[in-house]
Amino acid sequence: MASQPREWTGIQQFPAATQTKLLELLGKLKQEDVSSLTVLVMGKGGVGKSSTVNSLIGERIVTTSAFQSENLRPVMVSRTRAGFTLNVIDTPGLIEGGYVNDQALEVIKRFLLNKTIDVLLYVDRLDAYRVDTLDKQVVKAITNSFGQKIWNRSIVVLTHAQLSPPDGLSYEEFCSKRSEALLKVIQSVLNSGFGSRMKKQEAATPVVLVENSGRCNKNDNDEKILPNGIVWIPELVKKITDVVSNGGETILVDKKLIEGPNPNERGKIWIPVILAIQYFFVVKRIQGAIKADIARENKPLWELRDMGLAKGKF
């Protein structure tokens, strides 16, 4: 944020209909006294995060590659339009070599330090048929890093939405199945979290379908539409604004959030009490048990006789 954010010129490339819709939405936000919006884009590698960012901004700012990850560090793109600032943070893929890339996560966290996240876009592909443990790990990693609350301000973005579903399934059916599966993963991670079972997801995380390809079908207004006829760019922005206006707190990424609560500090104040309990209830008890043991010890007969306890019995 050192440099003055540039004017959002990309917006002019959108078809006129889209532009109107977008401006309308942004205006709505302004009414709610929201003048800047920070969107964090996260997801596995190669699902189309950067492309989505490019599509959203309308510029080719983030280099994308179909075959390898290009960006190893997060990139923040800031654009202003009519006094409204949109920050989009693109991040490197979280999965590398079958594992969550801790280092990437670490880099992202450090990048985000002292920034406020308004919306998280969790990006995955629509045309992936299954969810696996990897998805779970990514969700878990995000949760562990930014806390569970982030899911209250997140949108699941499914890319590659222009597809023909497998036989016997309608497009809608397929989409809902796929998004359901992903939401389930998120929900399960949230539920498995220690001691936070009470916090059910207040509202279901919204799902947006996205097609970044240039071959994306267009409607009469030259707007990119999905097979189900939805114009997706305004839809995405609308969902973002919805989340901003409905959602709870924004996520301020500070040191505490990144490192988590310092476990070394927890309960420190109780140490004197713990020590006292240990002394009186553990050490004393064991001492008592030892004394009982010694008293109960089987003395050999000769010792008993010597002590005059035999009384001629043995």
Partner: protein, 791 residues
């Protein structure tokens, strides 16, 4: 001859076959001990050696501590020296704890040794098959006796050698005796009180030897139906009143009366004896069955009573007399072996008595009070004294030796002889280790001289205080590489040597180096670069020993902890292997300070309750250990923490078995639980790790995780098979979700599960356990060989 055939009320059994010289002047004879140490307990202990690294090594001991500690609990010839002829020699030999027969054999040997020029004997020079009386023999000839037989005149039968009377005769077939010896033997037999009449008859044999027939008339007394056993130890011997034939009837009656009165008083004065009721009953039955009390009966009673005493360890107990015969009650007089004195003496290497360096109170407090004056000597108390003194580790040789008290009849002096170990010892042991050089081949430079230098100054001031130091390195040329040192001062009897409270102060400086199991990879993680944790510092603690197994230790530790990587560089963070194969040094922090070096002072306490014991070699009982490390806020980052762990282990005997040597041990179920937790600052080197042979078997050390709180549960069943046992076990370790509460979450960084179970079976082969354990996380099994016990 038949001086005792009168209504004698005393019977002094000649307890042992007597030697020819016994009656006369045992004081003059040096009383050769038949078997110098009837009982010998030999616990050879080698001084513990500091464990050294496994290397090819050759040890050169320059000076060494005396390696073995010999222990000796001795029963010398407790021969009732000079206990007066009336006392019947009290059965010389004191009936050492050893077998009775051995003693007899020993005495034969003695007789043979003494047997004047045993090689030669004179033929009788008479025609064969002539029966002669003893008086007819020539006084100058030595006769060889080829055969001895006993003829019981009452039963008119010949008594076999198994008869108890046979023991009374010191003559043996094949021996060579003069007429005087034979006469003395006859006299002895006649006066021992067992016989009313004894005769010796010889028959010449064609080969010049003679066959001897001893015909006897056993003494009998009026039937009795009561039995009483009294302890006459330390009492004056009752003396028989001489009954002269010249006395008038009246005088005789008076003499008897006074004798009877005396005896009554004696019984009253005597102390009760230890003999228990069941043995009393047994003896009474014996009396009832016999009818008239005969010498044989008395002998049987004597044997029974003595057997009980000796079986129970009262090795110095003896039946010395039977009194009150010819009344309804048989009184058995026993000397139980009352200790009149306890003598502790030190000996030098040559066995001379010297003034020892050790304070006597140090030895005395180890002695069971049953060895003190006024108690009855018991061999078990002696053994215990032996063990306890040996435990001190101050003496190379220990003898506990009961010996008859010359001044007090029937008294025992317990003599404890100690040989002190050298106070100062130093030891240098060297070893050469071959380190693989460049290219894996050893070069000249890769032969490293290493070894240990240690010294010990023990028993400072005679109060068993000691200073011990050792320095170990694997390379003397470059000792800074790995130098292990230890300096320890031990100060026992903190509350004074006379205070029964047993507290020991121990102060030590130390260093140690260990590989941290916190920085270990989980399954599938190739290799995590290791982190070495070096600790050096000082500690002082006080141990209160409640008894040998139970103790309470508390003290303070001051240490510096340095974490290093493989290259010996101080590292503040663990390393991890990146997916692309690179190594990054931004893993979990290794220390609290974040610099790789922590200094801290903390309190430490440990209480151990252990009531386990061995039932035929299987351990049974319960063991509880609680340990707390309490940070005091002194050190880097002012560490304040309470790190605690509780271990509960129970060995449950599943079947009642008879205890005894060679009996099979019972099957045992072992239940084990271990909880560890920490509140406050927790550096990674103090985190609890899961997995490993002492945590969850089947996994590597730390393979399951490193956490703030852990719980381990284990069950094992041990079934004895032949001389060893087989076992099956199941174990589980869990981090209770507290892995994330360790800074940097090393469990997750190194991709560990945080929990895991295993099960398996194994067999114990001496010290080694061979086991097959299945790791439940991956479902694969492996065979492990481990030393020592899991629990």
């Amino acid at each position: 001859m038949s001086s005792l055939t009168a209504p004698g009320q005393f019977f002094t059994p000649s307890l042992r076959p007597r030697r020819k010289s016994t009656a006369a002047a045992s004081a003059a004879s040096p009383n050769p001990s038949p078997s110098t140490s009837a009982f010998r307990l030999d616990l050879r202990t080698t001084p513990s050696q500091t464990p050294r690294q496994k290397c090819i090594k050759s040890r050169i001991l320059l000076t060494t501590a005396s390696a073995a500690t010999g222990l000796l609990l001795q029963f010398g010839s407790g021969s009732g020296s000079g206990s007066g002829s009336g006392f019947g020699g009290g059965g010389g030999g004191g009936g050492g704890g050893g077998s009775w027969w051995r003693w007899v054999l020993g005495s034969i040997a003695y007789a043979d040794d003494q047997g004047e020029e045993g090689r030669d004997w004179d033929p009788h020079g008479l025609p064969a098959d002539i029966v002669w009386q003893l008086g007819k023999l020539s006084a100058f000839k030595k006769y060889k006796i080829s055969e001895i037989s006993f003829f019981d005149r009452i039963r008119t039968t010949t008594v076999g050698t198994e008869d108890s009377f046979f023991e009374m005769v010191s003559l043996r077939p094949g021996g060579v005796y003069t007429k005087a010896q034979l006469q003395k033997e006859l006299e002895t037999l006649a006066t021992c009180g067992m016989f009313e009449k004894v005769d010796m008859e010889g028959k010449t044999n064609p080969d010049g030897t003679i066959s001897l027939t001893i015909s006897f008339l056993e003494s009998t007394w009026q039937a009795a139906d009561k039995f009483r056993c009294i302890n006459v130890g330390l009492m004056q011997q009752s003396k028989a009143v001489d009954i002269d034939n010249a006395m008038t009837e009246k005088e005789k009656m008076e003499a008897f009366k006074s004798q009877e009165k005396d005896y009554k008083r004696r019984i009253e004065r005597s102390r009760p004896c230890l003999l228990p009721a069941p043995v009393y009953r047994e003896v009474m039955q014996m009396l009832k069955a016999e009818g008239n009390v005969s010498a044989r009966t008395l002998q049987k009673i004597r044997d029974r009573v003595q057997k009980w005493y000796h079986d129970e360890g009262y090795a110095c107990a003896q039946v010395v007399n039977f009194g009150n015969l010819n009344t309804k009650e048989v009184v058995c007089e026993v000397v139980e072996g009352d200790i009149t004195q306890l003598v502790i003496q030190f000996q030098d290497k040559l066995g001379n008595v010297v003034e020892g360096n050790t304070n006597l109170a140090v030895v005395r407090r180890e002695l069971p009070k049953q060895l003190r004056q006024g108690h009855v000597f018991n061999i078990e108390a002696g053994k215990q004294a032996l063990r306890n003194i040996n435990w001190l580790g101050l003496f190379s040789n220990i003898e506990v030796n009961p010996k008859p008290d010359d001044k007090n009849e029937g008294g025992i002096i317990v003599e404890i002889k100690l040989k002190e170990l050298e106070q100062k010892t130093a030891e240098v042991s060297t070893e050469w280790s071959i380190v693989p050089g460049r290219g894996g081949r050893p070069t000249l430079a890769s032969f490293q001289p290493g070894g240990t230098v240690s010294f010990e100054h023990r028993n400072l001031g005679g109060l068993n205080r000691s200073i011990l130091g050792s320095v170990t390195t694997s390379n003397f040329i470059n000792p800074q590489d790995d130098l292990a040192f230890k300096l320890e001062y031990v100060h026992p009897y903190l509350d004074g040597v006379y205070n029964p409270r047993n507290r020991t102060l121990k102060a030590s400086c130390f260093n140690s180096r260990k590989m941290s199991p916190v920085f270990t990879g989980g399954p599938g993680v190739d290799e995590v670069p290791p982190i070495w944790v070096d600790r050096s510092g000082c500690k002082a603690n006080i141990t209160e020993n409640f008894n040998r197994q139970n103790k309470f230790t508390y003290g303070i530790v001051m240490e510096e902890i340095t974490t290093r990587d493989e290259g010996n560089h101080v590292s503040a963070n663990g390393q991890r292997v990146l997916p692309n194969g690179g190594i990054s040094a931004d893993g979990p922090p290794t220390t609290l300070s974040g610099t790789g070096v922590d200094r801290m002072v903390f309190g430490q306490a440990n209480i151990t309750r252990d009531n386990t014991r061995f039932v035929n070699g299987a351990i049974v009982g319960e063991r509880n250990v609680f340990q707390v490390d309490q940070g005091l806020g002194i050190g880097s980052k002012f560490p304040l923490f309470n790190r605690h762990q509780l271990t509960l282990t129970k060995f449950i005997q599943l079947k009642d078995v008879e205890e005894g040597a060679g009996k099979p041990p019972p099957p045992v179920l072992v239940l084990h639980g271990h909880y560890g937790g920490c509140v406050g600052d927790l550096p990674s080197y103090d985190a609890f790790t899961l997995g490993g042979p002492y945590s969850v078997r089947g996994y590597n050390m730390g393979e399951l995780g490193a956490a703030r709180n852990i719980l381990e549960l284990a069950a094992e069943i041990r079934i004895p098979v032949k001389n060893t046992h087989v076992y099956a076990f199941a174990e589980h370790g869990n981090d209770l979700g507290s892995s994330k509460d360790v800074k940097g979450n090393p469990t997750e960084v190194y991709r560990r599960m945080g929990k895991g179970s295993s099960y398996g079976v194994g067999v114990k082969l001496n010290l080694v356990r061979a086991e097959y354990a299945v790791d439940h996380n991956s479902g694969t099994g492996a065979v492990f060989f481990r030393f020592g016990e899991r629990f």
